[in-house]
Symmetry: C2
Subunit: 225 residues, 2 copies
Amino acid sequence: MSGGALSRVRSWLASERRAEDFRLPPERILAPQLGLSRAELRKALLVLEAEGRLERKVGSGTYLRQASDVELATSVSTDVNVLAGRTGPLEAMAARVALEPELAQMAALHASPKQLLELRRLEREMRAAPDWSVYEDLDAAFHDLIAKSAGNPLLYDLHRIVNGVRRIVVWQRLNPSDGAPQGGYHSFKEHDDIVSALERRDHTGARAAMSAHLKSTIAAMTAGG
Amino acid sequence: MSGGALSRVRSWLASERRAEDFRLPPERILAPQLGLSRAELRKALLVLEAEGRLERKVGSGTYLRQASDVELATSVSTDVNVLAGRTGPLEAMAARVALEPELAQMAALHASPKQLLELRRLEREMRAAPDWSVYEDLDAAFHDLIAKSAGNPLLYDLHRIVNGVRRIVVWQRLNPSDGAPQGGYHSFKEHDDIVSALERRDHTGARAAMSAHLKSTIAAMTAGG
DNA sequence: TTCAAAAATTTGGTTGACCAATTGCGGCAA
DNA sequence: TTGCCGCAATTGGTCAACCAAATTTTTGAA
């Protein structure tokens, strides 16, 4: 299926806004209206049903689900590759600057002792990473655990999207022959500062340490580092 | 298609982890392995392809795409109803507190003159809203436009998810007989302050005005307002 | 023996016929 | 007149046959 049928059905849905219990015309009628074969239409409907956008009942019809609310977000692509494709490194960083200081602040208040131990362990393993790919895995896990420790499920989900996008953007720039981060790599001390602030339960310190870390990362990126 | 075929294929993929260029067995071979008809398997593969998980090439085969990165985000639920179901009002506000001051700051730098005129128009219409449902529509559009004006596609997408969740959470609390916002409603002045700062291109002022607006909203919520 | 073109095979994609589930209408009994 | 049941029509779902694209093998010429 080319994306054509799916986008055509989406466009049609957007132009045919109805109440949330809107019943679509039968497939055999809608398909020719949209210039599609019934099979093509069915594929698009299948994807939309899997997205939770529609409900299809044999013998009854196909119904739109809670259109006004679902539309608001279902047009948001969570295909991380698509998001990464339209996100530059600095844009990804801007999203991190928005989310991660807030998450660090919340983590200082909510992290469990076990989570703090794990963060300290990850911080140490990053210093010993044998190459950049291992370092990046550990770095993503480090930031993911901070986000999880914050205790806000919605913010955690948003962070996971951003973390996924960021990883793809970073992988596009990594040269596998670049070896490993050296001992003076700026992030090592910054990660230490973050974990120390979390351990002290210093929420403003944790926020400041995370902001400093991200700004330092942006500076290194814009310096071509 | 019951969810059975799709989840069966997902489980099989999870147990058969391979390198990112993993080529799946041909449909005619994999279907009987999974106890599915070829048609059932094809529907599951279609959904997974739409999610960006797979790439299917006629005459060549079906390939897994960047599993380690895609997995990071595909387990994130973007069904706004599901997200709303596990998000309380204060948690939704925490997500807004993280995102919207940053977006307001960026909007002050990037908004077009046309977008500023539209924001001013929305701000005025909100003062005249005949009931809460109209007010909420305008309010969502107001915040959506600020997010769009910021010029960062990833942050805009994140905001749309949050805005969708927030709308559902708010609708659960709205009593339709509550009438309309009164003339002294705190948000009226706060929206004015935000738009004024944007018009002045005052990015720190815009950030502060948005923060104040959100804190005021939280205070009203926790006071039972 | 090697290389290029043609043929055969393999793979995912489409189609019309038919199947399964639901709805609505008409007829009949109380 | 009302309620229930059976049947036909309608709706989405499945299937085997066939189609389109890519890959592999075979053939023929140099």
